[in-house]
Subunit: 268 residues, 4 copies
């Protein structure tokens, strides 16, 4: 069997529906394994889970190898970011772990195997892609929001540091406190504390809530409008296609034809 | 009176407007009964309520029987899921209850009689149907959200278990804690506790809030766009119907007719 | 001066721009008066405010009388609900108050004078009208939400009454507690308390949050779609009017005319 | 070198891309400086930061001077509100500060230098402009909301003052408490406290939440509809431009032309 035949065989395997479903089943199993491990277990099942874990790692390695060997042009394999992500997750979980410090990291890496669910199911991949695509459009709104946070945090850290250093100690902690205020989580406790020293500091909080709410609203509306416009265009195109309905352009063409006919007759 | 005549009589009864209104009145009465029973009552009214309850159960049984016998083809009766639901509710409340343990369950079943309101009022039935219809479209967003929850819960249960086992004991409790964080309910208390051990754990919470908010937004926008498109199409059709306005297709037909006329004249 | 001349004079006064502005100024003054009275004041300014209050009451009485006498057909005056509202507010504040018990009620009535702002400024009146107009359309969603609340409250009052009678004592208190859960206000405290007895009661809260959030979303989308459709129709009509642009109906008429011309020529 | 040549030179500098980028870099540096100053620092780096601060102030002064001298008509410079804002920020940070009281104010002014980011990046300037432009349209909704707050605050300050003067002492404090209720922040604590005295006061809170939520929803929908309509019009115009597609007006013109042709032939 030469390389090209081998590649064709692997390609056939990876496009096989049963193979796909089995991979999804193994990913679900690995997800359940991750969940089960968070419970206190007696030693026997724990050893069993350890073996199951090795089995899953071995299967994932085999699967990635099949996908890689099934690719006609092997360089294209890593051009797909989802393939890169899959390979990385599988390779990292191969690293042997002995000491207890690394055991924690190793367990965390195994958690990310659940994300392979997203890379396997096309609908989830599309959802995530659309989320990622929406981000840069919102870049400037996020920047504006960051500036609002930064300015308020700088003011807060300057004025309120002596009142409660745990909430306003430096600009980083202040930004976390402001995020808390934005989520309305016990924000009045924070406010009443500073109002005891600066009675007018309610204006600081209310203006901050107003600005961030407004910027947030702006962001949401931005996304909604983008999505709506896309949907609207899609809908219009689809309607025209489905109904085979004549468009205004068709009508125009028809009229021009008529005009020509009239002109020709005139010439005769 | 033969069976067919009986069926016609029952059909007339169940389509009767007064009967419909009386059924609604009895359902409201049964709902009030459920509410009144949550108050502490002296023995005399309590016995009275017990009798009223038996009366309502008897009425519901009669009503369902009338509906069933009024159906021309009796097999079709159970094809309607609302009929099945009604029958089930009525039958379960027939089970006699003696010991105090089952009394609680029996009272809970009586609560669900209030839901018969939904099965009787067509507008409410339509509302619920539209809710149920919207769910599968959102399936993948809900799956993505579940994956986000699962991964974060696994990480939380791994890292924070020793800090507070009541919040991060296993993956199920961690998911409940994360749902709490998503609703912003005292989420900073949870965060400050883990930040005392892992000072960078704020990133865990902020990224989780960001991802779930984004996925949630996506879901809401998905519903809005679906509803909007449906409404938009309905509106367009309705406008065309109401105004008897010529469409572009009508114009096109007219032009083709004109063209034909011209062509015919030419031939002569 | 006869009655008809008097009516014309009063009508001229009430349509006068300066009079309108003066009324608004007095309403704002009465609003400020209401605000100032909530502060602790020494006796002298307090007596002054009392006199001012009498002055404003006298002015409002005069104003309403002018509006009433200015109406051509006096029966029409009370057909306008805003006039009725204004008259009621003014008449109630005329009732003399001696004992301290009624003083509180009298002060509260004076607060509602601020609402005359809404009845005077046409833009605010329109806003409130549109709010009131939107309500009946949402009637069934509100009914569905009430049924959800009622069922969950009945279950809560049945199961959790012994755990915390202050939160789940009867169906009314339970509904208030559920409203609290819906606003996410310390809802985990309520949940953890019942989970100590019924470990699966988290399902009760999560399903409730899910149902109410869904019904609420449905309501919001309902309003948005209604407003959007109205706006869309308005926009379309306005665009057509502004541009004097030919519509498809105009085109159709033109084509029919052409066709007739051709037919006529043929006949000759 | 005469004045006009000098102006041209300065104009060339301020339009220079490298100059623009350098200004952005200095603004970012000044923002970082503001952030770093909120941390506890040993004296040596603190002195260094002081010098850096003077350097940045000097640079900003030079930059504004260049911008001003580069303007052809110097009166136009201050017609741009962003230029006015920039000049103000720079001039205020020039005021020498000796005593510790003013030091705090001076540090706060330096914080606002970060806002120069908004005045320099055109996209952020546009975002802020659109926010400011949206405000007056919402004026009446904000007024209605203020009236709702004012009336409820007056009622609250009248009825609940004796229960908890810290929350309901006067109308201003009551409005702050109501804002807290609107954000659902520990609002049940506020409610349970007053319900102990007035058991029906839950109606006060629930109706307030209902009214403000409704007014808020109205405001959000108002913004969304405005933005949508703007986007929709933009989209329609753009589509027509991009596709060079004939419009109904073009069709109409074509038909009139045809009609004229037919009429002319008839005349012959």
């Amino acid at each position: 069997m030469n390389t090209s035949e081998l590649q064709a065989t692997f390609d056939r395997i990876r496009s096989n529906k049963a193979f796909e479903l089995f991979v999804v089943a193994v990913i679900i199993a690995s997800a359940l394994l991750v969940g089960v491990k968070t419970y206190e277990l007696p030693p026997t099942p724990q050893r069993l889970l350890g073996w199951l874990d090795h089995l899953i790692t071995a299967f994932f390695l085999t699967e990635i190898t099949i996908r890689f060997l099934g690719e006609a042009n092997r360089r294209d394999f890593f051009k797909n970011p989802w393939n890169l992500f899959d390979t990385l997750i599988v390779l990292i979980s191969l690293i042997p772990i002995d000491n207890s410090d690394m055991a924690l990291v190793a367990r965390l890496v195994r958690v990310f195997r659940v994300l392979r669910m997203v890379s396997i199911v096309p609908e989830l991949r599309m959802l995530l892609n659309s989320l990622i695509k929406a981000l840069p459009q919102l870049g400037y709104v996020l920047l504006l929001m960051f500036i609002i946070f930064y300015i308020y945090a700088a003011i807060g850290a300057t004025l309120f540091e002596t009142i409660n250093p745990e909430l306003w100690g430096d600009i980083a902690i202040s930004m976390l406190t402001l995020f808390r205020v934005m989520t309305f989580e016990d924000w009045t406790d924070v406010m009443y504390e500073t109002m005891a020293v600066y009675p007018l500091s309610w204006f600081y909080y209310l203006s901050f809530i107003f600005f961030t709410a407004f910027a947030f609203l702006n962001m949401v509306i931005g996304i909604v409008v983008n999505v709506m416009n896309d949907e609207h265009e899609k809908l219009l195109k689809q309607q025209a296609l489905e109904a085979h309905e004549p468009t205004i352009a068709d009508l125009y063409a028809k009229l021009e034809q008529l005009e020509q006919q009239l002109a020709e007759r005139e010439r005769r």
